[in-house]
Symmetry: C2
Subunit: 345 residues, 2 copies
DNA sequence: TAAAAAAGTGTTATCGTACACACAAACTGT
DNA sequence: ACAGTTTGTGTGTACGATAACACTTTTTTA
């Protein structure tokens, strides 16, 4: 039963003062070669780890973190992210933090830029966590964050470059392949498959493309399927979707690449046909469809965990100086009517 | 930008010393009615919460936690639990803890009782986390833990009573239903389904039973399926399984309730028939089968997360006095050949 | 060679909480 | 009325890490 080593123990073992040990630990210089050697030697031998508790106690600055995500009022998907953020705020409530959430309009790149611009003007901003729906605008923001030495984190969507300090998300290409495999198991050869992209306003373009590429890559190994793609935004759905269905009929399976899955069974009801269906995200309306048997699988993007892990990473980096991986990929959860409850807790 | 309230702030606002505030906070008496009133009033007004960080700093005791789980050498499934435990040990390495792992033979209840008995004899044991494979023996242990005021936690298997302080696991009944739904989607009506229980030595009896009940409950809604059950232990597999298959042939789908799924495709190879198959756990051999297309789905019990969350809960209870829920149910993950990698990181 | 600058080292206050201790004021009993 | 007890209150120190500060020793410069 050995007690944890403290800086005092190290100092004593090395025959120096705690001041010297501290200078070695923080590489603050002003240490002789001799002291340096003996302290590092003792440090390695005794496996010293500074007590994070004591460290944060002394360092009583108030860290400021801002979170910027799409408005949940415009798209319900983001509500769960908000919940994840709020959970972390509670969890770290005992620490001196000032965390504020801001929302932008997911259909307006300018709204993103504008709020982003305001946020980085904040005095003493320590970290910014955001959802980079718009590639160009996000990169502009990131560059400014980097020059100002502000810690950056993204989640949900990913950027192709390496500018961000930390990213939390899913591999969308694999996610498309998962959907493909699920559908493949449900249908017969020579079936007809429709890929439907329903977006607010063509912003998730990269997002949807990656899923489609994964999906297609899977079916390339099997030539006997006919696959067609329809891309439309939310408003066009009522007008364009029925036409598409009529022309491509009969459709054996649908792969919907966004969370607006619930639109499809609704629209198909008049048709009377029963198709296999795989889509994204556990929105209330999607879950209802799943339970009613109107769709087969949902792929869970785990927005809550993505957001909370992202924020947690930034916080721990700030207060514990914990190193965080540049990229963290979460599992791709397959959800059907029977395990959906287990994800909703 | 408001700083966190400290005990000093409260004392100042109430016009008393921090000692008095402290006595009010800890109900240690020796406080006049007048002081009591004004301090509680200020306390409520300013929404004071003591800093748990500073609190633990003072309390420099070394906590002792023991973990008792089935030997990974006897059953590979437990290897990942071990990994989860070790990750947490690293994560909390900076704190004063003494965590030790002990293993018992999953086929011998006596081995569990014996080591359990030894562990609770330990002086100053603060918490015990264990896998309660054996109901009777586990309850005996739990009662002793309770009388000795030792914090208790279980994971993976659950007990029907309420004696344990904290449990982390999955709902096995639902898990059986998930398997049922997966199989249902893959086969035609009037198919024949086999439920196979392969156990080391009939210890997971409750475990397997719960899964079977969930599975059956799903198919009760559809009368047109023929379901047969085979229960055997690992050693009997070679001899009894082929007979069973021959008698019940053709079998359209298999539901294997334990992690020994990999045995089945192997045994069926000589048969030449292709059946649907759903089983449990991401053992290396199971993953190989999944990738080769020899089985359709695996249900992931997430042993690593179960173990690590369980241990983390106990630790946080001890050092931060964080309240932990009596029961924590993890999601039931559905795994196919395309998302399996995302769970193996 | 003396003065100035730099390098190296130890001491100490601080963060917020907890608790022992000291001390004063208000009571008790003889 | 005075010693002894109880009650109430404030002060001081500890926990471990950190960094400012003070001090000594060495090196550089004029």
């Amino acid at each position: 039963m050995k007690k944890k080593q403290t800086i005092k123990d190290i100092a004593h073992a090395a025959g120096v003062s705690i001041g010297t040990v501290d200078r070695v630990l923080h590489k603050r210089g002003k240490v002789s070669k001799k002291s340096m050697e003996i302290v590092t030697k003792v440090l390695n031998e005794l496996d010293y780890k500074p007590n994070p508790i004591a460290r944060t106690l002394k360092n009583n600055t108030i860290y400021s973190i801002k979170v910027l995500l799409p408005d949940p009022k415009k798209d319900h998907y983001w509500k769960r992210c908000m919940e994840g953020i709020n959970e972390i705020i509670v969890e770290f409530g005992a620490f001196d933090f000032e965390i504020e959430i801001y929302c932008y309009d997911p259909s307006k790149p300018k709204s993103f830029s504008k709020i982003g611009e305001q946020l980085i003007q904040t005095e003493n901003l320590d970290a910014l966590l955001f959802v980079p729906l718009f590639e160009k605008e996000s990169n502009t923001l990131l560059k400014k964050l980097n020059t100002r030495q502000i810690l950056s984190g993204t989640f949900n969507s990913s950027l192709s470059n390496n500018l961000v300090d930390q990213h939390t998300g899913q591999d969308l290409y694999s996610s498309g392949r998962v959907a493909a495999k699920l559908i493949y198991d449900l249908i017969k050869p020579h079936s007809r498959i429709a890929i439907i992209h329903i977006d607010e306003a063509f912003n998730n373009a990269i997002h949807m493309k990656q899923k489609e590429q994964g999906f297609s890559s899977f079916f390339k190994e099997y030539s006997s399927f006919e696959i067609k793609t329809l891309t439309l935004n939310s408003n066009e759905f009522q007008s364009k979707f029925p036409d598409f269905v009529e022309q491509f009929n009969p459709i054996d399976a649908f792969f919907i690449t966004t969370s607006k899955v619930y639109e499809v069974p609704e629209a198909l009801k008049s048709q009377g046909t029963k198709s296999k269906m795989v889509g994204y995200d556990l929105l209330l309306r999607n879950v209802e469809c799943l339970k009613k048997g109107e769709m087969d699988f949902l792929i869970h993007q785990n927005p809550k965990i993505q957001a909370s892990l992202g924020l947690k990473g930034l916080i721990e980096k700030l207060i514990f100086e914990k190193e965080i991986p540049k990229k963290r990929l979460l599992p791709i959860d397959i959800v059907n009517s029977e395990n959906v409850e287990s994800y909703l807790i």
